[in-house]
């Protein structure tokens, strides 16, 4: 009987131009390589998390990858009912014998793009645009600020959040409005951790000839010349790895944290932004990257790992 992987997105939805989308790409890569089809599901409410998990577990799926901290509770409830099903959960940590938890050091990646922003900024003013004001997103902001200050202590940062409900992830209009305001106030680089709303920031960057920094996936190509870089959170790799391991029976339960060292996070460098990041700057960034990996630089963190209780 052939291998049956399953991918469950969170409420954000498959194409959130963020980590759900990245997960989707990971799974696609796996399919492309192995030719093994995978099942997927986009829930519309938290209640459906557990529903979906159960349903695929009952169907004897070989691996259920679920994306997002929202799944923590559901996995906790379901996993022990199906000890012989393998669960991989991203962004959450569940300590069960048949659960593999993968979390990321977003703060490290954010630190690096912060460094880039710090080096690149002309005005000495950078901006951060968060979707919702929640700890997960604050970590991006915090890391970003740290990185910038590391290379330019006097830099000052303007911080905006788009909203207080999930609507905030899908409100590019307000995002663009806030971004324009920041640009007019002398900000020249904005790091957007806001899902689809981020598009609004990128567009504002293009309209006012400034820079934006993408998040999660590589968004450099969205508006070449205006996306300075993207803070990559390699959810795609994580999903891909989980599926391959499970397929070749090397899958192991436990908690795995992916930072710069594990290439779980990073910054995007490609033909679209090569011109924006000169050689010297690149070397500086690489050097700092190395020192984070070696532990010379400890990147601070708000609200530790995403442990659920």
């Amino acid at each position: 009987r052939d291998f049956q992987p399953v991918l469950l997105y969170d409420i954000g939805g498959k194409f959130d131009s963020s980590f759900n989308e990245a997960a989707f790409r990971g799974a696609d890569a796996f399919r492309a390589e192995t030719g093994i089809a995978y099942r997927e599901f986009e829930p519309t409410s938290e209640t459906q998390y557990e529903q979906a998990l159960k349903r695929f577990a009952r169907r004897k799926a070989d691996l259920i990858v679920s994306v997002g901290v929202g799944y923590a509770v559901a996995i906790r409830n379901v996993a022990h009912q199906f000890p012989d099903v393998r669960f991989t959960v991203l962004d959450a940590v569940i300590d069960l014998p048949n659960v593999q938890s993968i979390t990321f050091r977003e703060n490290e990646g954010s630190f690096l793009v912060g460094v880039i922003a710090g080096l690149k900024s002309q005005t000495g003013r950078i901006g951060f645009m968060g979707g919702m004001d929640i700890p997960l997103i604050r970590r991006f902001g915090r890391g970003f600020a740290e990185g910038a200050r590391y290379v330019r202590p006097d830099i000052d940062m303007v911080e905006n959040y788009i909203g207080t409900t999930p609507v905030a992830w899908n409100d590019p209009i307000r995002a663009a409005e806030l971004a324009l305001a920041q640009y007019t106030r002398g900000v020249d680089i904005i790091f957007a951790a806001a899902g689809p709303s981020g598009l609004g920031v990128i567009q504002a960057a293009r309209d006012s000839g400034r820079f934006a920094i993408g998040v999660d996936s590589n968004q450099n190509g969205v508006a070449p010349g205006h996306v300075l870089t993207s803070m990559m959170k390699r959810v795609d790799l994580a999903v891909y790895d989980a599926m391959t391991e499970a397929h070749s029976d090397q899958w192991t339960a436990g908690h795995e944290i992916r930072g710069l060292r594990e290439e779980g996070v990073g910054y995007a460098l490609d033909e679209h932004n090569a011109a924006l990041i000169p050689e010297a700057m690149r070397r500086r960034v690489e050097d700092i990257r190395a020192r984070i990996i070696s532990g010379d630089i400890i990147v601070g963190d708000t609200a530790g790992a995403n442990v659920s209780h």
Partner: protein, 377 residues
């Protein structure tokens, strides 16, 4: 003016809605077909997914519970002449209330905590409705606007508390810590198990009984009590109400308190029944859909329960449909829900005249024949 003549009960309550649903599914089917899936199979999956197996039924009823609460909340206000768009916010505050109760009394005794949670959910919901109600009654501030605004305000308030005072330790999302051990409403499958009846596990919990009790209570209140009578008089003719010695302002506030309380109790199902923690966006628009539910149910508790069932089925069946058909996304399911609301809820007259005509021809036909037969005799 006076409503057109009513048809026999069966036609009114079974045939007409049935035809409307049929039309709705036909139209939805076109979209499914356009996406290259088989509409009939889709319909089959939808129905099967909603009622085909115990777990499905459990989920359908579970969702229906939310709609009963919010539908009633819209409806009773409407009978009082008020358009309550604030179900969403009232539900959020209700959720907050029951969460506080859970943590405050959870230590003392789970049972006490549950009782208080039920109480608090209604109280907080009512309190959140009280402000717009008061402003409407005393300052004439249009309740539609104020309730909309209070939805936004409630969302922000909840967001603040969930990343602040009520934040889950080490949590990354806007959600509270889990409720204390044992503070949750019993699941129906557990109860049945105790009775020796095996039922697949589902989130369906005792709050559906609370919801149904509320429906009965609302019906009784509206059509069997003096209070309900006065409430309807105020809703339909405030001048007559004053003439009858009914304090209109007072009634406005009271009815909104009730409405808010009903909406507030939605959290019992979602949070105390299933999530066992407060989530930032647990209302998920149920408050708004409650408007459609109320009017589809013709603002009568029985109708509302039926409409709620329909929506619960659509939510659950829709999810199954999305599970099964790769081309059918959750967006398409939302579309189908919209189409159903349009046909079943807004176009009640679509088939009325033809059916009425057919019915008359039929009856007159029978009269004729009777006459003839008599003539023959």
């Amino acid at each position: 003016m006076i409503a057109r003549r009513r048809l026999p009960f069966v036609l009114e309550v079974v045939v007409l809605p049935g035809l409307n649903l049929l039309a709705a599914f036909l139209v939805s089917g076109l979209f499914v077909w356009a996406l290259g899936e088989d509409p009939f199979e889709a319909l089959g999956l939808l129905v099967y997914g909603a009622f085909g197996f115990q777990e499905a039924i459990g989920y359908s009823l579970y969702y229906a519970t939310n709609f009963i609460f919010t539908g009633l909340a819209v409806s009773i206000a409407y009978h009082g002449g008020l358009f309550n768009i604030g179900g969403e916010g009232q539900a959020m505050l209700g959720g907050l209330g029951l969460t506080l109760a859970a943590f405050l009394f959870g230590g003392v005794s789970p049972f006490l905590a549950i009782v208080m949670a039920v109480l608090f959910s209604a109280l907080f919901g009512a309190a959140w409705a009280a402000v717009p109600a008061y402003l409407q009654a005393r300052r004439g501030s249009h309740i539609v606007i104020t309730t909309i605004m209070f939805n936004f305000i409630a969302a922000s308030l909840l967001a603040y508390l969930l990343v602040g005072p009520l934040q889950r330790p080490g949590g990354q999302m806007p959600e509270s810590a889990d409720f204390p051990e044992g503070v949750h409403l019993a699941h129906v499958h557990d109860l049945l198990a105790r009775l020796g009846i095996a039922f697949e596990s589902s989130p369906l919990n005792v709050s559906i009984l609370i919801a149904l009790a509320c429906a009965v209570a609302v019906w009784f209140l509206l059509w069997r009590t003096r209070f309900g009578y006065e409430l309807r008089v105020v809703g339909q003719n405030p001048d007559a109400a004053r003439y009858a010695g009914i304090a209109v302002d007072r009634m406005t506030i009271l009815v909104m308190l009730i409405a808010g309380g009903l909406a507030g109790m939605m959290g019992l199902n979602e949070l105390l029944g299933e999530q066992l923690r407060l989530l930032g966006n647990f209302t998920l628009g149920y408050g708004f859909v409650g408007i459609a539910v109320a009017f589809m149910g013709r603002n009568h508790p029985v109708g509302i329960v039926l409409a709620a069932l329909l929506f619960g089925a659509l939510y659950q069946g829709g999810a199954e449909l999305a599970f099964e058909m790769s081309e059918v996304t959750r967006d398409l399911v939302v579309l189908i829900q919209g189409v159903v609301i349009l046909f079943a809820g807004a176009m009640e007259h679509l088939f009325r005249d033809p059916v009425a005509a057919a019915y008359r021809r039929w009856t007159s036909g029978r009269v004729q024949s009777r006459v003839q037969s008599r003539g023959a005799a």
